[in-house]
Subunit: 253 residues, 2 copies
């Protein structure tokens, strides 16, 4: 990796860029994953590269849903494996969720490399290698495991595409997404849409997991029943608008 | 390239993505160029993937500046060569500008491949292979040709980084940029900041070149002296805000 000084104003963003580029070189991330990373960078920039109030609101509800689930599953793709392998493993540990590799541009080599990457980061079991069930989708991204995503009641699908997200919602699952674009089809389709950077979102969710595990079940149920996803998305857009307003003043445009 | 149906709502954007990916495979575009493409996609999405009024205002002034210049030069990097080689060549023809390859991640192979790509698209001469002058910058991106960018009075630097843009402005040049982020350092530094998608901007500029060539010199001078870059950037931000407002209503957030 290129050396990036820790005091660089955009340190985190540059490190993430290096990680995804390294993921491509290692064969974990598809080349299209770099374009997705770039799209995310722009939206992150527009919310000021911080976890906003609405993001934390969605993250809290998401963790409650994972903790209450009977069969929670975290779906892992090439960008997630490159950016935050240790964090998805930690979140799975805290919430008792399974990990399943699921790729848009699936190759058996990539599935294998990602499983190895997650194992190297402490995962004991990772599903996805022997898919024995199918979502109603074309291409290899339909492939899932029956005891994983297929039968899950709550699925966390970070950096997911809209089609797949929609299909999982149609199957009656609670679908949690992490996507920096509050207008994307993914964000619009999901049950709980987290508009936040992947690394920050996972860090917040791990902390929230530790905290909420101590709560009574009724408290967790309340977090979910009072959660309003349209409100979260609408606030995410307002936060971008606020940021643009502030910048306009600052730059004297 | 993957087959993309012409009636896909985001056809142009997907084609551009394929072109940059092909550029990487051909060795013309650096892997980092994919992340830049993604960043651009997000901002393009936020202005509704169309040339806005403020973009056309900046493009008109930019073409006037190129037509009035003594030594206009168009700088070409790996993303430009992958996305619109035939269009930079056409714009150079219409405005009488020279073409010079200038790369952030410079390798002699990439310089050679980009020159060949431009020649295959009709360019007669392309500078950049034998840099005999230097900008005050670190890294290979300082390298320029004395009869090209170094001595140019007007430079078009599409998809440029902020440092280099700033340096060219400091040297007293009229610097025209094409950058979809109206808040970027590049947009803030440039003399004329075009906030538009590269392909659309070049298409507009070629048409404007044909049209403005017929104008009297005084008319072109007037286009430049009345041009206000802060106004263009401020309007570009307003256009994003308008788009977000419209989308909020449409999605019933």
């Amino acid at each position: 990796m290129t050396e990036i000084p820790k005091d660089h104003p955009r340190y985190e963003s540059l490190i993430a860029r290096e990680k995804v580029t390294a993921g491509v070189k290692m064969g974990i991330t598809s080349i299209q994953g770099l374009i997705s990373q770039g799209r995310g960078e722009s939206f992150d920039y527009l919310i000021g590269e911080r976890s906003t109030k609405s993001a934390l609101y969605a993250e809290r509800a998401a963790v409650a849903a994972l903790l209450l689930a009977k069969n929670p599953v975290i779906s892992v793709n090439g960008n997630v494996a490159a950016l935050a392998p240790e964090k998805v493993v930690a979140l799975a540990d805290v919430t008792g969720a399974k990990l399943e590799v699921n790729l848009f541009h699936r190759t058996e080599t990539r599935v294998h490399l990602i499983i190895e990457q997650l194992r190297a980061n402490g995962a004991s079991e990772v599903l996805g290698k022997n898919p024995d069930a199918s979502l109603e989708l074309s291409h290899a991204r339909r492939l899932v495991e029956s005891r994983g995503i297929y039968s899950a009641d709550v699925v966390l699908v970070p950096l997911e595409d809209g089609d797949r997200c929609e299909k999982l919602v149609e199957m009656g699952k609670t679908v949690i997404t992490i996507d920096l674009n509050p207008l994307s089809r993914t964000s619009r389709m999901a049950t709980i849409s987290i508009v936040d950077n992947l690394t920050r979102a996972l860090e917040n969710m791990i902390k929230l997991g530790v905290e909420l595990k101590k709560e009574r079940k009724e408290e967790l149920v309340k977090l979910i029943t009072t959660y309003d996803n349209k409100r979260a998305l609408s606030e995410a857009i307002s936060e971008i608008q606020e940021y643009l307003k502030t910048m306009t003043v600052e730059l004297e445009y």
